[in-house]
Symmetry: C2
Subunit: 216 residues, 2 copies
């Protein structure tokens, strides 16, 4: 299945993720075992034809009016997105955001397991943060090599971001989940996903400003 969907675009991935979240988290306590594309489309505000197309692309065919088996959809998406194969990550920067991310239990549902946290701050090293003992960044490279870690979560201060990235890349990391506002420079074989939390702020600020305008 991996090869067939190798070229799924970012937008398709995001939609599959939304279907997954809706089916696994969003339908209340006792969800029906089947779901129609119209129901998914309605709940997520997506065109129903698009939903059927996406599900068709990962090999799922609905049964007329009955719709789709919800478990079947979740299972297929788990396989396509790789959630069925747990993967380990290191987290660098055990500050507030780093702690919040480690404490977020739901990540395991997506296959992610943060196996170690690193920091340069002596007051943190050796102490438990969200149930994990914080290690010195001096031991970062050897830890990555020893445990064959492929993903790193970056929650350092801006100033340290590129320096840490260089060390991660040298140690063989293949993907970085970047929560710093820094635009990282990496070789082409390393994948970076930037998480711009402040991006949402622009939309909110714009909305509030615009509301003000219409009010006056």
């Amino acid at each position: 299945m991996g090869l067939r969907v190798a070229r799924l675009r970012r937008l398709v991935l995001e939609r599959l993720m939304r279907y997954y979240r809706f089916l696994s988290e969003g339908r209340g306590r006792r969800p029906a075992p089947t779901v129609t594309s119209a129901e998914i489309a309605d709940a997520l505000d997506i065109d129903p034809t698009q939903v059927r197309k996406d599900l068709g692309a990962i090999g799922l065919l609905g049964m007329g009016r009955v719709g789709f088996d919800a478990c079947e959809i979740c299972r297929a998406i788990r396989i396509v997105l790789g959630f069925d194969q747990p993967y380990h990550a290191v987290l660098v920067g055990a500050g507030h955001l780093g702690t919040a991310l480690m404490a977020y239990a739901r990540f395991s549902q997506y296959g992610l397991n943060v196996s170690a946290a690193f920091d340069t701050d002596r007051r943190k090293i050796g102490h438990l943060v969200a149930g994990r003992r914080v290690r010195s960044t001096r031991t970062l490279a050897s830890y990555i090599t020893r445990h064959d870690i492929r993903l790193a979560i970056l929650t350092t201060p801006v100033e340290a971001a590129q320096k840490v990235t260089d060390r991660l890349v040298a140690a063989g990391i293949e993907a970085i989940w970047n929560f710093t506002p820094t635009r990282l420079t990496v070789p082409p074989n390393v994948f970076v996903r930037n998480e711009h939390i402040s991006l949402g702020l622009s939309e909110l600020a714009y909305h509030l400003t615009h509301l003000d305008v219409t009010r006056r």
Copy 2:
């Protein structure tokens, strides 16, 4: 200016925000006072024609080869997005993520000021979290009314999300920045921005899985 750009679409907003971040944070310690659309386009991997179009839409015209005054661009974007008018927000749910968001000093740069934090946990109420005293959610509605707060940041557990939202809406909140995975039900005059942090995970997991496939 507010009226002229009233219908800016989400994608345009996101690009403007990226220009803003690049110009205010991303160009190193001693950035040049001018910047060309080609430089911005190259740094952010956007088509240069699009950059010129976006800047034109908010009333900016470049000066041939010299390009744009970087400060001028930032100033224009601040006005369009409303960052020049500081706005106050309440945060509900003073857990790890809530604390991380309050501690993130850069938000003030976008006009956001988290003026109070609320929680139901007695062990937190009255204590300082990221420099703010945590208040009981019982006082939430009266605080919002008294201080004319328009924006709320939602970082509660999933189970509490809708209940808290109903109280926020009843108290007159106009926009909610939702960090819970819950799809909130709100009246049409309330704006919700959902922050799906786990969405990024799907892309990372997919990338790592796909790499595995090509390796074999």
